[in-house]
């Protein structure tokens, strides 16, 4: 199998796959690719063979009369049949489940997500399960969702910027829209993608596999990297677990810091560590699960991402209780 259907680390074929429905998508992509490979190898072999066998040379003439045969018709019929099978037996059912059957379970987690240039805003109903009303005319820098704070349902609502908290093992039902331009709510590790279109509210749903918490991901992805293995690109999102010092005891790579934010910075840091004689560094991912934006939305489209924190179900309930306590100042760090 080409797909990784367990946690795996990033960087091989598919990204890690942590959702319940995602495995079907990966399976479909795999079988289509096996089919494509088969066709390409068959065509390609014929092609190379023909180029050699029918090259122009002394004593060899081309044939005006064209080759006849049933093989090409049979092959074409098989191709069509296979495509039909994939369509009807795999793609249509997966798509239907993904699109037609919103979850109705009692413990489903409902979240509203609003995209804006260049953040993801998340709105949770809180323990009362009711969303406070929102109004575009109430939107200010300190109230980016335009929540009507006066309404009783809003009292325990949770509003977050670029933080998406969800539990494992329960249906997650997200209603997605946008304030300004088209964005696209995309969680690669959950095989979720849905355009966020202003003027429309579009639901998307998924369920996280049991055990696939952020904590577990972080644990999977934390390890020692030998100095020669250090590569700014691969490790840009990893931070040091300890402090690393140079020969005079000066800290050159502090705990919680990453290798740098540009290629030039990254290379400099790696060179520093090498010069200091550091043999290996232990790195952990800063935020192993991300929600990103998949539709061009302006000059900072590439930076529009939210951290996704996956809890166990009980941890999640704790988090909701804690977070929804009315707080004196809800501070948003600006746009």
């Amino acid at each position: 199998m080409l797909a990784q259907v367990n946690f795996g680390t990033y960087g091989r074929w598919f990204p890690p796959q942590l959702s319940v429905h995602g495995g079907d998508i990966d399976y479909l992509i795999d079988i289509v690719h096996y089919f494509m490979l088969l066709l390409f190898v068959a065509w390609g072999s014929f092609f190379v063979y023909a180029l050699f066998k029918f090259r122009q040379r002394e004593g060899h003439k081309a044939s005006y009369h064209l080759v006849k045969g049933k093989i090409s018709k049979l092959a074409e019929a098989l191709v069509i049949a296979f495509e039909f099978l994939v369509l009807v037996a795999f793609s249509m059912p997966v798509w239907a489940t993904y699109k037609n059957d919103p979850p109705t379970s009692a413990d489903r987690v409902e979240v509203r997500c609003v995209g804006q240039q260049f953040e993801w805003l998340f709105h949770y109903p809180g323990p009362d399960g009711k969303f406070g009303p929102r109004n575009a005319s109430l939107i200010t820098t300190s109230n980016p969702l335009g929540l009507d704070e006066a309404a009783p349902d809003s009292a325990d609502d949770i509003q977050l910027i670029n933080e998406f908290h969800i539990p494992t093992g329960r249906d997650i039902y997200v209603r997605i829209t946008s304030k300004d331009v088209i964005h696209s709510f995309s969680i690669p590790t959950m095989r979720v993608k849905q355009d966020a279109i202003p003027g429309m509210e579009i639901p998307v749903w998924f369920k996280v596999k049991e055990g696939a918490t952020s904590h577990a991901m972080k644990f999977e992805m934390t390890r020692d990297y030998g100095i020669d293995e250090l590569n700014w690109y691969k490790l840009r999102h990893h931070v040091a677990v300890d402090d690393y010092r140079d020969k005079s005891g000066q800290v050159i790579f502090a705990k919680g810091n990453d290798l740098g934010s540009t290629y030039v910075d990254g290379q400099k840091r790696i060179d520093q560590l090498r010069a200091a004689g550091v043999a290996s560094v232990k790195l952990e991912p800063r935020a192993p699960l991300e929600v990103v934006c998949a539709q061009l939305c302006g000059n900072s489209h590439f930076k529009m991402k939210a951290q996704m924190i996956v809890h166990t179900s009980s941890e999640y309930e704790e988090w909701v209780k804690e977070k929804s306590k009315p707080q004196a100042d809800v501070e948003f760090e600006g746009f």
């Binding site: 990033y10 960087g11 990204p15 998508i25 479909l28 992509i29 289509v32 690719h33 494509m36 066709l39 065509w43 390609g44 023909a50 029918f54 122009q56 081309a62 044939s63 005006y64 009369h65 064209l66 080759v67 090409s72 074409e76 191709v79 495509e83 369509l87 793609s91 249509m92 798509w95 239907a96 699109k99 037609n100 804006q116 575009a136 939107i139 304030k179 300004d180 331009v181 696209s184 690669p188 993608k193 849905q194 355009d195 279109i197 003027g199 429309m200 690109y233 691969k234 999102h237 030039v264 910075d265 998949a294 061009l296 939305c297 302006g298 000059n299 489209h301 590439f302 930076k303 746009f335």
Partner: protein, 596 residues
């Protein structure tokens, strides 16, 4: 070049002012010319310059992609704001806006200013009347108008870089509300598109009427060269698909300039500011439908002429007829028809219901069938052949597996469930570039090497041609194959810095490979540029038919005079009568005789 009475008699489209063609002043003979051959060359040269510009934009972007945040060497200082910003140590780093501008313009320039004018305006104009035995297009002045609307459109598009706000930066797809609210050159883009689309519409009418009306005696439809068929279907696609986009472009212009709301919904809040100057009530999805209604047939406009060129060159260099000529013709007709009912496969992620998305998924699967048939016919045409590895044949042969990869990678994208993972990733970019770059552009090169002798009377140098081919072929695969893997890994499109997202950072090595391959590909074009210009003046002189080909253009002098043929060719056979048993020569000209 005697201008005989017979030639004059058949030149119904001649204006009395052109009766004594050698008396035309320079500006009427070479600038505002009504001769399809001059217009074809004008289109070709202009399109090649635009292709070079579009490619250069990408070569610069590739530096930012490979080394995010690094100052751009050598050229950085010339790019100016807002494309680059100066760093503390005096380097010029690309900005997010600059990257998006280059990206949007790369796509627009390559598709609308490069490939279509070259494939249709260039090759179509020059070759089609010759292949049907006509003295010119049915409407020569309309033809001239078509070029002279295209050129200002193209120049306006490029000029947008130098205007306040820079060029458009919302993708070649220009989705509102971003494209309407952006403070960049989107307005210029829309105006330029109105000109470019108008040019295409004028041209397509001409091609259809010419092909239907001006075929010489004996040239029935099923004796047409495959190239002519593909140009005919392409012209229908342009004619029927472009008008909705032209209308949509005007609507978006209204939205941008007059605050109308064709595409702008109510309640928009941009950067914290309520957009209550807008009427509201519009739909961003309306633009997407109108855009893709054109843009899907548009991609068949990009590939069909290429298939036609490859077909003609394969027949010529296998010294036998194409296998499955009828199947090929039916396939291109079917593809043309189907191309109008697949457009929403670009919109699967917009919240489409299952019924409609299933319809489009099914039509998308169906449209892959004629493409498979065409490719298979081209492949089986190699069986029983005597293959001459001329320079055009190198490119035509390379086209075949490259188009295979491009076409096959369309399959997972057309399946809605698979598209959830692959939509808007580099897999899409890899897919369409495989079809257009090592696909169509290679076919364009093949066509240039093939018809250059007809246009100039001289052949291009073979050694330089091979030196152009091999590094190009290797480098172009080096650019686009990694993208298919990057897409599988989840790397998204239009990312100024791919390493910002975790799944992008881990596969950055593939981006490096693409970037270095792209620069190598740029260098590999130098032999072609040298060869092209040098051969115009010093290439080996050839006669009418240096390739020993059969179709009508090879019965005219090289280059053909005004009016093309000495008499009226009369067609006596099909287009690919090669290696006919019982004949001394291994080819029979389609023009059996020339009537006075």
């Amino acid at each position: 070049m005697a201008h005989t009475h017979a030639a004059h008699a058949q030149d119904h489209s001649h204006d009395h002012g052109n009766e004594h063609e050698h008396h035309l002043p320079f500006w009427r003979k070479y600038i505002f010319s009504v001769d399809h051959k001059v217009i074809g060359v004008q289109y070709t040269v202009t399109a090649l310059v635009f292709l070079f510009i579009g490619f250069s934009l990408m070569m610069i972007m590739r530096y930012q992609l490979a080394y995010p945040g690094s100052p751009i060497p050598v050229i950085g200082q010339f790019l100016g704001e807002p494309i680059v910003g100066k760093t503390a140590d005096g380097g010029y780093v690309m900005t997010g806006d600059g990257y998006n501008m280059f990206g949007a313009m790369h796509g627009t320039i390559m598709v609308f200013l490069g490939i279509v004018p070259l494939a249709v305006g260039g090759f179509g104009n020059f070759v089609l009347p010759l292949q049907i035995g006509a003295p010119d297009m049915a409407f020569p002045r309309l033809n001239m108008a078509s070029y002279w609307v295209f050129l200002p459109g193209g120049l306006l598009m490029l000029a947008s870089f130098f205007m306040t706000g820079g060029a458009a930066a919302s993708g070649w797809t220009m989705y509102p509300p971003l494209a309407v609210t952006a403070a960049n050159g989107e307005t210029m883009w829309l105006l330029a598109m109105v000109l470019l689309i108008t040019s295409s519409l004028l041209g397509s009418i001409n091609f259809i009427v010419t092909t239907v009306q001006l075929r010489v005696p004996g040239l029935s439809f099923f004796r047409l060269p495959f190239f002519t068929w593909t140009q005919l279907v392409t012209a229908f696609l342009l004619l029927l698909a472009f008008p909705p986009l032209e209308a949509a472009a005007v609507m978006q212009l209204m939205d941008r300039v007059f605050d109308s709301s064709f595409f702008m919904p109510s309640g928009l809040v941009v950067s914290g500011v309520m957009q209550d100057q807008l009427a509201g009530g519009g739909s961003p999805l309306l633009w997407q439908h109108l855009f893709w209604f054109l843009a899907h047939p548009e991609v068949y406009v990009l590939i069909l002429p290429a298939l036609g060129i490859v077909g003609d060159i394969v027949a010529n260099n296998t010294r036998k007829p194409l296998w499955g000529y009828r199947a090929l013709v039916h396939a291109v007709l079917f593809v043309g028809f189907m191309s109008f009912i697949v457009w929403a496969h670009h919109m699967f992620m917009t919240g489409m219901g299952t019924t409609i998305s299933t319809f489009f998924q099914a039509t998308t699967m169906i449209i892959s069938v004629p493409s498979v048939i065409i490719l298979t016919c081209l492949l089986i045409s190699l069986w029983g052949a005597s293959i001459r590895f001329t320079v055009p044949m190198h490119f035509a042969l390379a086209f075949i597996p490259m188009f295979g990869i491009g076409g096959l990678t369309g399959l997972p994208l057309g399946l809605t469930a698979a598209d959830i993972h692959l939509h808007d990733t580099y897999y899409v970019i890899g897919h369409f570039h495989y079809v257009v770059a090592p696909g169509t552009i290679f076919a364009m090169f093949a066509g240039i090497y093939f018809w250059f002798p007809k246009v100039t009377g001289r052949k291009m140098n073979d050694l330089l041609g091979k030196i152009h081919f091999w590094p190009s072929f290797i480098a172009i695969n080096g650019v686009f194959m990694p993208m298919l893997f990057m897409g599988m890994a989840g790397v998204l499109r239009r990312q100024f810095d791919q390493t910002e997202q975790l799944h992008g950072a881990t596969v950055h090595g593939l981006t490096l490979m693409s970037s270095w391959s792209a620069w190598l590909l740029g260098v590999a074009q130098i032999p072609f540029i040298i060869n092209f210009f040098w051969s115009i003046f010093a290439g080996k002189k050839v006669g009418e038919n240096p390739w020993e080909a059969t179709t009508l253009e090879w019965s005219a002098p090289s280059p053909p005079p005004h009016g093309n043929f000495a008499g009226t060719p009369v067609v006596v056979c099909g287009p690919y009568e090669y290696s006919v048993p019982g004949h001394e020569r291994d080819y029979l000209m389609q023009a059996g005789k020339m009537e006075a």
